[in-house]
Amino acid sequence: MNWQALANPARFKRLSDRLLPWFAGGAALCLAVGLYLGLVASPPDYQQGDSVRIMYVHVPAAWMAMFVYANLAVAAAASLVWRHPLADVAGRAMAPIGAAFTFLCLATGSLWGKPMWGTWWVWDARLTSVLILFFVYIAYMALNSAFDDDTRGARSSAILALVGAINLPIIKFSVDWWNTLHQPASVSRLDGPSIHASMLTPLLLMAVGFTLLFFALALVRMRAGLIERRLAALSYTRSADAGVASFR
């Protein structure tokens, strides 16, 4: 497998043409069944009533926020170690998707919290950690687009992504600890095996659907990114026959 060749838009198009229908189709199927099971077939919670159905988007969105960041960190490492343009393009393509899922996790968490806590925002340990993750995504995207030279932006933000990746567990630990210091355990009761299968199935289906959707979107955006690079290069190659004229 020639990785360098994948940075070629035409090659990548062939690969993504083969994969995209499966990802998009799978995402549509999983999300459709997941939505039906989550909104219709699953029982309301005995305490939270129908508001618990927000869980089926909130929790998968939270998983995606972390999953996409993990992908971002891998792309960042690849970008720094192998200096592969595909990794640069991947980072730039994935970050907005991750930020979108992170935002959705926060927004749906707030919408779930209002009826449960009686307020739109509580400094719950999980929500707070996700909020900080959202800030890291924003910093990544801001840094990525802050340079005139795209490669500079990609490399700089890749370093930030890695620094963030090693720091996020520390942030998570700190916020959890800070939270127990200031208020009793959080309202969320999603931990452990107590969750019933009729709820777990739609939850997992939505999560798989989101994951496939992420892959599909990432492929589309990476393709766009590769074409963008190619176009930028094309505007120069007309004069690329520079070199030594003479050396005496």
Partner: protein
């Protein structure tokens, strides 16, 4: 080693000759902290409750101010190339720059923090812990700030971008620094918190030089 020390000495003597810059940071620190009594009222009990948090948050914001120039000025003047081409490892040289930054701007800030704490009615028994938390916490901020400054070399939106990069990563330091002082006020042991702050400093001491060096190398290419 001598190159690293020479860089530290040079940056410190530059800081000494540009005292104005340090004074500006200190003035920002004091003025920003003074805003809080106007914002939340001058009642001593309320102020005493939030004093630690204010001192730390404002110190965090003030520590952002000198970052923009840290590596950007080197890049603008051409000195960055000379640092990159020095035979000494770049990781050691950037550490020297961070050390100079800490001595030149964080230490003065720590020195005036008792004044700010007095104005904010911090309980007397907490001063020692406040100073200890600042002494142990600000090295992490200087190193984190160094990462941000190195990443942002040549970027279009300098200062706002730096805040965006550095502040989220600084939250653990803030949490445990404030917790240390509150533990002191609450009559609990402060040692675990201070140990943890020292741990963060060691952590960033090992991570930051590599991140900064990598960022600067690619900034020059």
């Amino acid at each position: 080693m001598s190159a690293t020390l020479a860089l530290l000495r040079r940056d410190l003597s530059l800081a000494l000759r540009n005292v104005g810059e340090t004074l500006t940071v200190l003035a920002f620190f004091v003025i920003a902290a003074t805003l809080f009594p106007f914002g939340i009222g001058p009642e001593p009990q309320i102020l005493a409750r939030v004093a630690t948090g204010i001192v730390w948050v404002v110190a965090l914001l003030a520590s952002l101010l000198p970052l923009e120039r840290l590596f950007q000025s080197e890049a603008d003047e051409g000195g960055l190339d000379q640092l990159l081409l020095a035979p000494a490892p770049l990781e050691a040289l950037v550490l020297a720059k961070c050390a100079a930054l800490w001595i030149g701007s964080a230490l003065p800030l720590i020195a005036v923090s008792p004044i700010v704490a007095t104005m904010l009615q911090l309980p007397t028994e907490a001063y020692g812990t406040l100073l200890a938390s600042l002494l142990l916490g600000t090295p992490s901020l200087a190193l984190l700030g160094g990462i941000g400054a190195a990443l942002a070399v040549g970027a279009r939106k300098g200062s706002a971008l730096l805040a965006l990069i550095v502040l989220p990563l600084a939250i653990p330091v803030l949490i445990f620094a404030v917790a240390a002082v509150e533990a002191q006020i609450g009559g609990l042991s402060v040692r675990p918190h201070l140990f943890l702050l020292a741990g963060f400093a060691v952590f960033w001491l090992t991570v930051a030089p590599f991140a900064m060096a990598a960022a600067l190398r690619q900034a020059a290419s």
